[in-house]
């Protein structure tokens, strides 16, 4: 059956399986998915443009709001990029604190994903329990930074809050607790027959397809491709830390789940090492308001994959251009080979298996309905709109 003969149902913009507004048009033959059209663009907020109108320090707050779940990795990359431009070396202690927060964020993001995956296959108990265990991490983050979601820990030139000795001890205890729970979840996702019935052999993404569609992060690692910015191009102090890169070769949803869960065991390992290696010292250095002219890229490993920042300065206190590429934009195309030929029942969990974060992803494409020409909004186009 071809795409034209089939009937279609919409997944989104409002759909219980996806909290965020995105539109997947699914073409069906009975319950089998023939094809899927991926449409993004319901949540474009014009953040990149807004960043150009604020100073570097102000941008930090806006950047934290790009994503509710991975707010710290965004500021980490942005601050890292600006520090690179200003040629500033931040204190050693600040580097370790940044890493601890980034890994805690990975912990809570992946535990959240475990819950979502359970919810998508109609297993509410996994959802409730995984989110209960996520609270351990959330409480730690709240105690450290004062906030559960936007931690505001990173600033240009260092970090804003210290981790005290008592706090470090509490963190170690929390990591032991999390480790025990993680072993339990790995056991559940590998051995529990009611879960493996739904996750094993569904949503196959071959290594070849993953490369072709430029998948990143756990999505690519679940297809057996080794790609981890923490290993490939270590930032902060990751080169001095002993941890393993997790890949898994069964290519299905189970593979992505196992990669995420095992990765968390490495994260707790990294946090313990950071707490051990963290030297005493100051938290931040002073940064001039005017950033020297130049351009720089910075990439880091967010919970969902590689995050990419391009910052260009024209020698003023406001950035000339900030370009952000979030991991979901890289991963979303790989949904197409994953979904084709699968059952409608598996669609929500397959879509969730890339851990989509659509609000960070949206881009604008202009479509001229008369000629049918499409046009991306790029720098020259934005310039042409500028008031003279």
């Amino acid at each position: 059956m071809s795409k034209e003969d089939s009937y279609s149902i919409p997944l989104g913009p409002q759909h219980p399986a996806l909290i965020e507004p995105e539109y997947l048009k699914v073409h069906l033959d009975g319950e089998t998915i023939i094809d899927v059209d991926i449409n993004i663009g319901f949540m474009h907020r014009g953040i990149e443009k807004a960043l150009q109108q604020r100073t570097y320090m102000h941008d930090r707050f806006l950047i934290e709001k790009i994503c509710g779940i991975c707010s710290s990795i965004h500021t980490l990359s942005y601050c890292g990029a600006v520090e690179k431009l200003a040629v500033i070396e931040i204190p050693e202690r600040a580097k370790y604190i940044r890493m601890i927060i980034a890994e805690l964020e990975r912990l809570h993001s992946h535990l959240l994903w475990v819950g979502i995956a359970g919810y998508e296959i109609g297993f509410d108990t996994v959802f409730q329990l995984a989110w209960r265990d996520r609270e351990i991490v959330m409480n730690m983050l709240e105690k450290m930074s004062g906030n559960r979601v936007s931690y505001s820990m990173n600033t240009i030139g260092g970090v804003r809050r210290d981790i005290s000795k008592d706090m470090a001890e509490e963190l170690r205890k929390a990591m032991d607790k999390i480790d025990a729970r993680l072993h339990h979840y790995i056991d559940v996702f590998v051995n529990d027959s009611t879960i493996t019935r739904r996750t094993r052999g569904t949503g196959i993404l071959t290594g070849k397809d993953a490369r072709r569609y430029c998948a990143v992060g756990p999505t690519a690692r679940g297809s057996g491709i080794s790609c981890d910015i923490r290993k490939d191009n270590p930032y902060l102090k990751y080169s001095t830390i002993d941890f393993n890169q997790i890949t898994h070769k069964t290519l299905d949803i189970e593979s992505r789940a196992v990669v995420r869960l095992k990765e968390l065991l490495e994260s707790t390992k990294i946090i313990r090492q950071c707490l051990h290696m963290m030297p005493e010292g100051s938290l931040s250095v002073k940064v001039p308001e005017i950033i020297p002219e130049g351009e720089v890229i910075y990439h880091a490993e967010a919970p969902r994959g590689e995050i990419f920042y391009y910052v260009r300065s024209d020698g003023t206190d406001k950035p000339y251009r900030v370009k952000i590429r979030t991991p979901t934009l890289a991963n979303i195309l790989s949904l197409k080979p994953m979904l084709k030929g699968q059952q409608l029942a598996d669609m929500p969990v397959i879509v969730a298996s890339i851990d989509p974060c659509f609000s960070c992803t949206d881009r604008v494409t202009l479509l001229d309905t008369k000629t049918g020409k499409t046009k991306n909004v790029d720098e020259t186009y934005l310039k042409s709109l500028k008031r003279r």
Partner: protein, 288 residues
């Protein structure tokens, strides 16, 4: 007689306890999932609120959109009247076949209602529902007729012996088909919230949604009564009834908490394999 049919142990009693049991199930499931959960009487509020809401009829809805939810509830209640609680309210030869028929028709009417709402999600849900009927109806029929044949009866009445001990496979198949009949996980396939946005209920609001919700609750309660009557030694007074029915409800809740949703073809395979197993008890009844 009229009092028996309308109030106790008839329609009003069945409706009230069905809503109450639904509340108890929600609370139990919540406690098992490490949640606090709504208060037990919350479902009464929900139903009262739904009946007060405006019902919106979609433009493309086909004839039967309004009628089928009412038929579904009426069928479920009629089946409830035929199941003996302490003694039989209404009884006639062959009534157990009428019970099977009314319970089946109650499900079918709900799926037809979904089909009549002419929404793509609802239609997919209705198709899934019909496939699921094909799956579970065979083990259910086997489970109902085994005690009948065993005692050579032509109308249903309370069995004082615990038939579950004599025909365990049939009893288990009865329990499993209850799960699918009232769409408790792992068989909440026709109204899968994440996949097809509530399935056949997608286009229903207000009173009609209340009717559909009530139908599911009533069906759950009636099926629990049927299970007690056929396999669990019946109930001689209200305390025995409460104890036994709450035990069955607890078992249903455990299933609800413990499993992920199956795909429709997995459910079909599961029930047809199980129908074969349950048929062993049927053969034992017929030949031994």
């Amino acid at each position: 007689m009229i009092f028996d049919i309308l109030i106790y142990p008839g329609i009003l009693f069945i409706l009230a306890s069905a809503i109450l049991y639904s509340g108890i199930m929600r609370k139990l499931a919540a406690r098992m999932q490490n949640r606090i959960g709504p208060p037990i009487y919350q479902v009464f509020y929900d139903i009262a609120k739904l009946t007060g809401k405006q019902g919106i009829r979609p433009v493309q809805a086909k004839p039967g959109y309004t009628m089928f939810p009412a038929i579904a509830l009426a069928s479920a209640l009629t089946a409830g009247l035929l199941v003996p609680i302490y003694s039989t309210i209404i009884s006639f030869p062959g009534d157990y076949i009428v019970i099977i028929y009314f319970l089946l028709f109650s499900s079918a009417a709900m799926f037809l209602a979904g089909y009549a709402s002419a929404n793509n999600f609802a239609v997919v849900g209705a198709i899934r529902g019909i496939v699921l009927i094909l799956a579970y109806e065979l083990p259910f029929i086997i489970a109902v007729i085994v005690p009948m044949l065993a005692f050579s009866l032509n109308s249903i009445h309370i069995f004082d012996t615990w038939l579950i001990a004599y025909y365990p496979l049939a009893a288990i198949s009865m329990f499993l088909s209850i799960l699918a009949k009232v769409e408790i996980p792992p068989f909440h396939i026709p109204n899968a919230h994440q996949e097809i946005v509530g399935g056949y209920t997608a286009e229903f609001t207000g009173k009609r949604l209340a009717l559909i919700e009530l139908t599911t609750m009533v069906k759950t309660f009636v099926l629990i009564l049927l299970m007690i009557c056929l396999y669990l030694g019946g109930a001689q007074n209200i305390f025995v009834l409460a104890a036994k029915s709450l035990a069955v409800l607890l078992a249903l809740t455990v299933a609800r908490v413990l499993f992920a949703r199956l795909r429709i073809e997995q459910a079909l395979r599961f029930y047809w394999l199980f129908a074969l197993v349950a048929a062993i008890d049927l053969l034992r009844v017929i030949w031994i």
